[in-house]
């Protein structure tokens, strides 16, 4: 049995809403699967089924080789869950939070204390261990929350949007922590709305939208599928934009786009990225056009998402935005 997680045709509806509409997936032991999708795509429902919190309407799912419905207890012995909210007791200290978790895993008192200390060290919280968790920064709370899900030494860990709401520095800190986890052989299923996060962490990615998997593969495969590389040239003088654009179009045999504000010309160059780059440099040099910058960009997962779903991935992530209905509030319906 090489797969830590296997799911076949999972379906779950809440009233008229099909939260999951036939999901198949498998995750090899020790790998990271990124589940990418916008708010309301069904990510949280998927995590809830895999972690035995809710039953699927139909379909079958094995976690660590056990059926999530009929062998829920065995599944729970093997998994850890970090949800979207920090599920810690803010009035209690970091150490107390972890000790209580350890006691609920039925460790004796002394072992519970040691386990708590070990995790506090590992997550760089030793200095704050005797302070109430409500005094922690956002990043520290998330680390404590993650530590709490590791108390039972799970072999499979579920992280539901582990960096939502964190500032960029704390996010990157969290990524490092997550990368180290997998170094220890833990299998990880991670949901995210952030494409760069999936790109950075996941071995394999599934993109889900409206309860269906709309694409799967490694980050490179997904990018390759939606088209080639893009050459960006930033000129020093605005007058050169048209000339550069014509030159690049001829070279790439494709239509270029001009951004006047940024002084950038973009053109798709298919799969001959670096050759095209060298050619462009020679040509611009011959034309004696001074350039501020030239770069080759592989398509981002944002581009992947846009081309797959026809809408941007972060749509609705901002509650103040025009798509309030798909916004943050939605997450409670997602359950």
């Amino acid at each position: 049995m090489n797969n830590a997680i296997e799911a076949y045709d999972l379906r779950k509806s809440y009233g008229q809403v099909k939260a999951l509409d036939g999901i198949d997936l498998s995750v090899e032991k020790g790998k990271i699967l990124g589940v990418l999708g916008p708010n309301g795509a069904g990510k949280t429902t998927l995590v809830k089924i895999l972690t035995t919190l809710t039953h699927p309407d139909s379909g079958r799912c094995l976690v660590a080789g056990f059926d999530v419905v009929s062998q829920a207890r065995q599944v729970r012995e093997k998994i850890g869950l970090t949800g979207q909210t920090t599920a810690i007791q803010e009035e209690l200290t970091g150490a107390e939070n972890l000790e209580i978790m350890a006691r609920l895993y039925h460790m004796p008192k002394k072992a519970a204390k040691l386990k708590a200390l070990e995790l506090l060290e590992r997550f760089d919280l030793v200095d704050a261990k005797d302070r109430a968790a409500k005094t922690y920064s956002g990043g520290m709370k998330r680390r404590l929350d993650l530590a709490a899900s590791l108390v039972g030494s799970p072999s499979i860990l579920f992280l539901d949007e582990p960096t939502t709401g964190l500032d960029p520095r704390a996010r990157i800190g969290m990524w490092k922590v997550i990368e180290n986890l997998v170094g220890g052989g833990t299998t990880l299923l991670l949901t995210t709305q952030y494409l760069d996060e999936a790109d950075e962490l996941a071995d394999e990615i599934i993109v889900i939208d409206k309860g269906k998997i709309i694409a799967k593969g490694t980050s490179d495969e997904l990018k390759r599928n939606i088209g080639g590389d893009v050459l960006n040239v930033q000129v020093a003088h605005e007058n050169d934009l048209t000339e550069v654009s014509l030159a690049l179009e001829k070279l790439a045999a494709a239509t270029a786009t001009i951004s006047r504000e940024e002084l950038i010309v973009r053109v798709g160059v298919g799969s001959r990225g670096s050759a095209a780059l060298a050619e462009a440099l020679r040509e611009l040099d011959r034309l004696q056009i001074s350039i501020a910058d030239i770069s080759l960009r592989r398509p981002s997962l944002d581009d992947v998402f846009l081309s797959l779903t026809g809408h941007a991935p972060t749509e609705g992530a901002n509650p103040q935005g025009s798509n309030v209905g798909r916004g943050r509030k939605k997450s409670s319906d997602e359950r």
């Binding site: 919190l53 729970r76 599920a87 810690i88 609920l104 895993y105």
Partner: protein
């Protein structure tokens, strides 16, 4: 399916209860609501309103008041339960517990256990303050203990109702305002603070037949050494009935959280 062994059901509930009590001790406002506030109520009614309220019993208003205020405090202590549960569901604490190999019932059982202890402590503190300001039991120790036990059982039953509200509403603010909507009329439109005879006739109909009055009357009769058998029996029937309705409701909505 996946039932936990009894020893685990108990030990997990004890861990949760210890945790809930620890949180209670750490939060000054919780202590305020469960201890300082009832003590202020005792002093307020004893010295400010008490002089204006005529009561028929021996011992005067303070002896009338204490059973009522103990019952009211026990009922109000249940706010903490509802708010606590709603908050934990909101924060995903309950989800995490449910994904762990522990007894799922521990979240509710542990909290009820902690709350029983909390209500007992509150009751004893209020009683102590009451005695300082002149309250006396008129009958034997057995009746005094019976009154205290009835107060605690009443508090626990109301806590079950509150727990159901907390689980069903899942939101701190709505729990708080909804709690006021049902707890205030029940405790104040009762015999807890004033004789029901002083209310308008239509209100007496409600006040005389609702469970808080019945429990308070039973407690008061026990404290004052008046015949109490009938009221105690009626209280027991009410409390068992309320628990029988709300326990399954609470359990059902708890199992449907996700």
């Amino acid at each position: 399916m996946n039932a936990s062994p009894i020893s685990e059901t108990i030990s997990d509930a004890v861990v949760i209860a210890k945790r809930d009590l620890l949180v209670w001790l750490r939060v000054p406002s919780f202590i305020f609501f469960s201890i300082i506030q009832p003590v202020m109520f005792v002093l307020l009614f004893r010295y400010v309103f008490g002089g204006a309220i005529n009561v028929p019993n021996a011992g005067g208003y303070v002896d009338f008041l204490m059973p009522g205020i103990i019952a009211q405090s026990a009922a109000f202590a249940s706010f903490g339960t509802a708010i606590g549960l709603a908050k934990e569901i909101q924060l995903g604490v309950v989800d995490r517990f449910r994904s762990m190999p522990m007894a799922r019932s521990a979240v509710i059982n542990g909290r009820l256990l902690a709350d029983t202890l909390r209500i007992a402590i509150t009751t004893l503190v209020i009683l102590f303050v009451g005695i300082l300001v002149g309250f006396r039991f008129h009958d034997s120790l057995l009746e005094a203990i019976s009154m205290i036990v009835l107060a605690i059982v009443f508090g626990v039953v109301i806590t079950i109702v509150s727990a159901y509200c907390g689980i069903a509403l899942k939101n701190e603010e709505s729990v708080q305002s909804f709690g006021l909507v049902w707890l205030f009329p029940l405790t104040f439109v009762s015999s807890a603070f004033v004789p029901v005879q002083s209310m308008p006739g239509w209100m007496q109909v409600f006040a005389n037949n609702q469970p808080v009055t019945i429990v308070v009357n039973a407690m008061r009769n026990l404290a004052l050494g008046q015949p109490s058998g009938h009221d105690v029996l009626l209280s027991a029937i009410w409390l068992i009935a309320i628990a029988a309705v709300f326990t399954p409701l609470a359990v059902r909505s708890f199992s449907k959280i996700s």
